[in-house]
């Protein structure tokens, strides 16, 4: 059904147009003044200001490896993370721990452990699948590099980022 759109009756002031322009100029100047006084809330000035202190508990940043309190590598090179990793960012080369080693009882550890941070999608599946709780997603998010090779985190880099994780592994914890 057709209906007639009511056209508003403009007053002379509105028709003259100039007062409306002045009104508009007043509004934009208000914004300008607020900005100059620093009252406007603006975006975070990134490299100087960061969000680090307000990152939530569940934040998923760069995946890292951890050692336990005895300085033992928690990773036992079971390669579950390598198999579950959706973008196949993880490459593990396992090795047998020599018999004269302090931790010979653990039998295996990774000889090489590489995560290609160009491929990593920060999904956290590696953390979830790890039976030894050796791999954790930490809160580092600014992973940059100049070359592709630089973006591949090797074992040393992963342990450096990960640090030490103390306490019982959940699978041995009867409460969990």
């Amino acid at each position: 059904m057709a209906y007639i759109v009511p056209r508003p009756e403009l007053t002379f002031k509105e028709k003259a147009y100039l007062p409306s322009i002045l009104n508009g100029l007043k509004i934009t100047f208000g914004h300008f003044k607020k900005m100059m006084k620093g009252e406007t809330k603006v975006t975070m000035q990134y490299p100087e200001e960061t969000w680090d202190s307000e990152l939530p508990e569940h934040y998923r940043g760069a995946p890292t490896l951890v050692k336990d309190e005895h300085d033992r590598e928690r990773c036992v090179a079971c390669q579950l993370c390598e198999f579950i990793c959706p973008p196949r960012a993880i490459t593990i080369k396992p090795m047998e721990i020599p018999a004269d080693d302090k931790f010979a009882k653990v039998e295996k550890r990774p000889a090489e452990f590489e995560i290609d941070m160009i491929r990593c999608i920060y999904c956290g599946m590696c953390e979830e699948v790890c039976p030894e709780q050796a791999i954790f997603l930490r809160k580092d998010y600014a992973i940059t590099g100049i070359t592709r090779a630089e973006m591949v985190h090797d074992k040393a880099k992963l342990y450096e980022l990960g640090g030490v994780f103390k306490g019982l592994v959940h699978k041995w914890n009867p409460e969990k």
Binding site: L18, I21, G24, L25, I27, T28, F29, H31, F32, K34, M35, M36, T40, V42, T43, Q45
Partner: protein, 388 residues
């Protein structure tokens, strides 16, 4: 005439002064002013839209091996330099199928508004030399002639690009410029009627002695004639300002390049430095327009109570300083006034939405043109009434 006599007959001093003044105005003032107007545009628009704007580009001292870029008081002041570097280093791409000669000619013509700066008195005098490049009696006509030519850049760019959007932009622009050129010229006539000459330096001198046209507070500016003339002059000023907005293709009249309809209008097919020339030309036209407004209505280089470069007028104790100081103060005052009007241009741009094309034409032909015409008769009536 012997060679020597011919050599002597050349007015070397005048040529040197003219060259020096041209170099100073174009490279010392206007081009930096253009680039920093672009920067101001970005910062002011950001502030109006509750953003921060470009505040990081310092002077790239990191290239010289320093740890940080040099940030001067505001931050981002290196932005125009970075912009220019970007434009210069970009590939100068010419699309296939363009009309090469005109395609290259158009961006050159876009810088034409700079020529009209020759007629504008940008300062009183310095070391006894008048601070205007060409002190001619047809100053006003000269400026209108030159700015009238600037439409060619847009028309040629639109036509030579051999593409539909530039073509539409060029056509729109030519019709718009013709419509507003008329009211622009007519709106100035009351000023010329009051003053009776077209020499811009004399016009500014008159305003310095007898009160600015929109601020008649001293000299014969206190007469009934001048105060009654304020009515037609204010109308003149408003029409002239609107026409300048339209002539320089600024919002709310930026029809030729309305990006929502025409991609980028007449410069769609242009890139790198050729685009930059259009861009700079537009801002140069803005500066010329503001300079005209200052000269016609706001007393040019004059500030009340400050003497001019010849040591005339102003407060008496200020004459203790040498005259050239005041000459420089006058030049600064002129470009300061221009800068204020430029900021107003920017402010308006980020306030008003674009007109529809038919509204624009209607405003130009049906309102501004008629009002400007009637205004001439009003001014004539005021002058006739008060001269008795």
């Amino acid at each position: 005439m012997t060679t020597l006599a011919f050599f002597d007959s050349i007015p070397w001093e005048m040529i040197l002064w003219a060259a020096g003044k041209s170099l100073f105005v174009i490279f010392g003032v206007v081009l930096p002013l253009v680039s920093y107007t672009v920067y101001a545009e970005r910062r002011v628009s950001a502030a109006i839209q509750d953003r921060v704007g470009p505040n990081r580009t310092g002077f790239p001292t990191t290239l010289l091996g320093f740890k940080k870029d040099l940030q001067l008081f505001l931050g981002g002041l290196g932005q125009p330099i970075a912009d220019a570097m970007k434009f210069i280093l970009k590939e100068d791409f010419t699309p296939a199928g363009v009309k090469h000669f005109y395609f290259w000619l158009a961006p050159c013509l876009a810088m034409l508004p700079l020529v009209s700066l020759a007629f504008i008195p940008f300062g009183s005098s310095l070391f006894g030399e008048k601070m205007v490049i060409a002190n001619v009696n047809v100053g006003v006509l000269g400026i209108f002639a030159v700015t009238g030519c600037s439409v060619y850049a847009i028309v040629l760019a639109g036509w030579a690009s051999n593409s539909k959007y530039p073509f539409l932009g060029g056509i729109r622009s030519s019709s718009q410029m013709i419509a507003y050129e008329l009211s622009m010229g007519l709106s100035i006539i009351p000023v010329l009627m009051l003053f009776g000459s077209m020499n811009l330096s004399d016009l500014v001198q008159y305003q310095a002695d007898n009160g600015w046209l929109l601020l008649p507070l001293w000299g014969n500016g206190l007469s009934t004639e001048r105060w009654l003339m304020l009515i037609p002059l204010t109308i003149s000023f408003i029409i002239f300002m609107i026409a300048v907005f339209a002539e320089t293709n600024r919002l709310p009249f930026d029809m030729p390049e309305s990006e929502t309809e025409l991609v980028a209008g007449y410069h769609t097919e242009y890139g790198s430095m050729k685009f930059a020339l259009f861009f700079l030309g537009e801002y140069a036209a803005m500066i010329v327009g503001s300079a005209l407004m200052v000269v016609f209505f706001f007393g040019g280089w004059h500030i009340p109570l400050i003497p001019d470069g010849n040591g005339v007028g102003g407060l008496s104790f200020l004459h203790a300083l040498p005259d050239w100081v005041w000459g420089i103060v006058n030049i600064t005052a002129f470009f300061g006034k221009v800068a204020v009007i430029l900021v107003f241009f920017i402010w308006v741009r980020w306030t008003l939405p674009r007109f529809r094309f038919d509204q624009l034409m209607k405003l130009g032909w049906l309102y501004l043109f008629e009002i400007a015409l009637a205004n001439i008769f009003l001014a004539a009536a005021v002058l006739a009434f008060t001269s008795n």
